[in-house]
């Protein structure tokens, strides 16, 4: 009873009174929240505070606060550097192609899985396509090196069997993106169907029954029932993906980068890792990282606003 009257009262009173009241009534909720909040503050917001070194000349001896402000020096250095354009292009194209090829496949898989006859086969297929998701990036990279090896790899054996000349996939710049994106699709396309399958199973079966009675084929049902139902969630996922068009994929790129494919594999995230941690250029690489984050954030906001206007679907 006290909680009900308390809830009514909470809309009145000054901010201070409201804080006191919520602490009195809901302090237990705050205790439950505390560890999570502490984590986000210490491991997410502290670094956001520390990102100011992008505008400073960070010296470990002086710490973050004690280092000298230098304005946009590091940004200018980055944008005028020789490889800046190439790195931006590589990062953007890797993500763009990844999105272009990787985005539609889970949707197609989900629709076709939903149409499969036979409960057991369907269940098996669903379980099986999730499995590659549980393989680590290191192992995936290892598998690429094994299968695409120029001498012993099964792919090159196949090429040789059909009379072709072996290709040294992992050191040719032209093959970096196909390998990266292809392996990503192999690993995650199945996993990414989950959301779409969840949506499809939520559709009222009466719709399908009615369509069947009206003489609709399976193809008609996909076109007129499945796709319209999937559209909102697809748009949302698309907006989310747009927010990572300039994201780094550092861990995987680091594994697949070789001296041969550097022309296409030289992406910003790897550069930040090598220069920042390898050569201890903390301020300079923080500036680069900040650039990327701001651009990513701006893209997602823009796409979100655009989508809200055009299709009335948005994340927030």
């Amino acid at each position: 009873m006290t909680s009900l009257s308390g809830r009514k009262m909470q809309h009145r009173g000054s901010l201070g009174q409201r804080i006191v009241r919520t602490l009195q009534r809901d302090w237990q909720l705050w205790v439950l929240l505390l560890p999570a909040i502490a984590f986000f503050i210490v491991f997410c917001y502290f670094p956001m505070y520390g990102v100011q070194i992008a505008f400073k000349d960070y010296k470990a001896a002086f710490g973050i606060n004690g280092s000298k402000w230098v304005g946009l020096k590091h940004f200018e250095k980055f944008f005028s550097s020789y490889y800046c354009g190439r790195m931006f292009a590589n990062t953007f194209l890797l993500n763009l192609y990844g999105l272009l090829f990787g985005f539609p496949i889970p949707i197609v898989l989900a629709i076709l899985l939903n149409q499969l006859n036979g409960k057991r086969f369907k269940g098996f297929a669903q379980t099986a396509i999730y499995v590659p998701h549980f393989i680590s990036t290191v192992v995936l990279a290892g598998m690429i090196y094994l299968f695409f090896s120029p001498t012993n790899g099964i792919i090159n054996r196949l090429i040789a069997a059909f009379g072709g000349t072996p290709i040294y996939f992992v050191i040719e710049a032209g093959w970096f993106r196909p390998l990266f994106i292809g392996s990503d699709i192999w690993q995650n396309a199945g996993w990414n169907t989950i959301l779409y399958i969840a949506t499809l199973t939520g559709i009222d079966p009466q719709l399908y029954e009615a369509a069947t009675i009206d003489g609709a084929t399976r193809w008609d049902k996909i076109k007129h029932i499945d796709i319209p139902h999937l559209l909102p969630i697809c748009v949302m996922m698309l907006i989310l993906s747009c927010g990572s068009l300039l994201s780094s994929n550092t861990d995987k790129a680091l594994l697949l980068q070789t001296s041969g494919n550097i022309k296409t594999s030289d992406i910003i995230g790897v550069y930040v890792y090598n220069t920042g941690l390898g050569k201890a250029q903390y301020s300079y690489t923080s500036a680069i990282g900040l650039c990327l984050n701001v651009i990513n954030f701006a893209i997602i906001m823009l796409v979100n606003a655009f989508s809200r206007k055009v299709s009335e679907i948005s994340l927030f």
Binding site: A36, I37, V138, V170, G269, V272, L277, N296
Partner: protein, 307 residues
């Protein structure tokens, strides 16, 4: 069966064609998904010479466990294996508890919730970046400690939202009202009612967090310097990295040459040992998934619907 059949509208010709094509499509997909995994497994139990000659395609050839024998000698690998078990079990345990507690809190109404939600969601779209995160860890005195392997990535926003949605949609509000009537506070309600009803989502979160931690090599690469504290994947990277070179600089395997009867023999075994390393490092994650599979599909579906 017969009765059902008579009431069902017969499939049209177009549907039958569709079904056949769809079935063929799925057989192809399953082949693409499963064959590479199968190939790794059969190569790991075959003779190195057969693997090198490319004769291992469908079944193990000249069955042998010498690769696994070699792998068991790599003491560094097993040390990192134990590290990874510790990081994964300890870290995931903390992650799941903290996530569930926070998810419950965020499923209730209270003053300040909007602000907390905003603060948490924001971290999903914006971060300080690799270098500030690294400096932060160093300034906290956590660089090169086992603690950082546990604490970093402790809570994932996505998992938190999935758990919150699950609690909101599966545990009826009437239960809360009844508990409050009986004089229960949030603690009592959370521990006595919410936790026992959250088995499914706890299983899902365990898999999410556990697999992410087990498979992570980057954290170890960035934050750990002492080799004895490295997690499995970071060590595995060095083993597999010798694959990108042509094989002459297998320094990792040279270290074990004495135990394995000469360098030549060690390198020969290393050829299958690489496959064995992949198998032993991947098995825990896949087994966890298969065991949790039952809860998994259900829990993920409920959690993700509004997430």
């Amino acid at each position: 069966m017969a009765k059902q059949h008579s009431t069902r509208i017969r499939e049209t010709h177009a549907d039958r064609v569709f079904n056949v094509i769809n079935l063929i499509f799925w057989l192809l997909i399953l082949f693409i998904v499963l064959y590479p995994l199968w190939l790794i497994i059969i190569a790991s139990v075959s003779d190195p010479d057969a693997v090198l000659a490319g004769r291992v395609l469908l079944w193990p050839v000249d069955f042998s466990l010498m690769g696994y024998q070699a792998v068991f000698q790599y003491s560094e690998l097993w040390n990192s294996y134990m590290n990874s078990i510790f990081y994964t079990v300890g870290g995931s345990f903390l992650s799941v508890i903290i996530t569930i507690a926070a998810a419950y809190a965020l499923s209730r109404k209270f003053t300040g919730k909007t602000l907390v939600n905003l603060g948490i969601t924001f971290t999903m779209f914006f971060s300080g970046g690799l270098i500030p995160i690294f400096l932060n860890v160093r300034d906290l005195g956590l660089y090169n400690t086992r603690t950082v392997m546990i604490l970093i990535n402790l809570v994932s926003v996505w998992n938190l939202m999935v758990a919150r949605t699950y609690i909101q949609t599966t545990i009826p509000n009437e239960l809360y009202e009844a508990a409050v009537m009986d004089g229960a506070g949030h603690f009592t309600y959370f521990f006595k009612c919410v936790l026992p009803l959250s088995g499914t989502i706890i299983a899902v979160l365990s898999v999410y967090y556990g697999v992410a931690r087990w498979n992570d090599y980057f954290t170890g690469l960035v934050f750990i310097r002492d080799r004895v504290k490295l997690p499995l994947q970071t060590v595995l990277r060095e083993i597999l990295a010798s694959l990108s070179s042509t094989g002459s600089s297998d320094t990792f395997f040279e270290a074990y040459a004495d135990n394995l009867g000469g360098l030549q023999e060690a390198l020969r075994k290393a050829e299958v040992a690489k496959y064995c390393c992949i198998v032993v490092s991947t098995v825990p994650a896949v087994i966890l998934y298969i065991f949790m599979q039952k809860y998994f599909v259900k829990g993920v579906m409920i959690g993700s619907l509004k997430g």
